[in-house]
Amino acid sequence: MSTYEEEHGTTGSNASDRRDLRSQLHSLYQENGTSNALLQMLSQLIPESMQEELLEDTKDGCPDNYIDSLPRIKKKDLKEQESCSICCCNYKDDEYPLVVELPHCSHRFDLECVAVWLSKSTTCPLCRDDVLSHKPKIDVSQVEMEDEWGMYG
């Protein structure tokens, strides 16, 4: 089955290193609540072109690690005719469906589909719930990262 990205001739992850760094910075920012000062400070460590991207990213879209942390739905828990409302395809048409559920409203989507949407919006496509309005769970990878960043502290 072709993916959203294939059908639309776009590529998802370019400059993945930069994205990693960006999302690390972003989650650090989130952990510290609304302290914009931290973000400003950190952003001075990176080139100007990236600063813009970073600050822009805090306005729209969810951080990559939020998207990566969405709970997956097992194939056996999917109903026969259940379909993704973004691509309109039945989940079970795919031998290995990769379906996720948004934590608060429980709406389900193909990971590939919802990942594209959440990279530019923070709302559930079905109920418009602001997915980031609930305190995000921070995944374990943050722990290592904090050590790394400690050297600037």
Partner: protein, 151 residues
């Protein structure tokens, strides 16, 4: 041309096989992302008995990006400007990829049923609407007769 995403094929099939009452949407043969649309004016609205022609285009990024929709028939409405552009939240900031061509067209039909002069696109029309509602509605009726009569 790149192949058409499955979703667009499915939506098109459903529009043809299970059409929405009062709404007709058919893709152009040479561009399957480009639809010729007609919407009947809702009953009890100034647009009643009118048939309005529109055009709709699904951009490359659809459904991550909203369809582009425009009236081709002249219409007197505070949220539709002289070039047929429509001020409708679901076509802009409130777009969601779970919406479809059919839901968008239903929203346009609903906009005809309840004009919103407080969020205008056509400022002169909205002003009329707020100051002299009766006259504005009469004018909308008149334009419907003049430009949107069933052929």
């Amino acid at each position: 041309m790149a192949s058409l995403p499955k979703r667009i094929i499915k939506e098109t099939e459903r529009l043809v096989l299970d059409p929405v009452p009062g709404i007709n949407a058919v893709p152009h043969e040479d561009n399957l992302r480009y639809f010729q649309v007609t919407i009947e004016g809702p009953q009890q609205s100034p647009y009643e008995d009118g048939v309005f022609e529109l055009e709709l285009f699904l951009p490359d990024d659809y459904p991550m990006e909203a369809p582009k929709v425009r009236f081709l028939t002249k219409i007197y409405h505070p949220n539709i400007d002289r070039l047929g552009r429509i001020c409708l939240d679901v076509l802009k900031a409130n777009w969601s990829p779970a919406l479809q061509i059919r839901t968008v067209l239903l929203s346009v039909q609903a906009l005809l049923a309840s004009p919103n002069p407080n969020d205008p696109l056509a400022n002169d029309v909205a002003e009329d609407w707020l100051k002299h509602e009766d006259e504005a509605i009469a004018k909308a009726r008149e334009w419907t007769k003049q430009y949107a009569s069933r052929k």
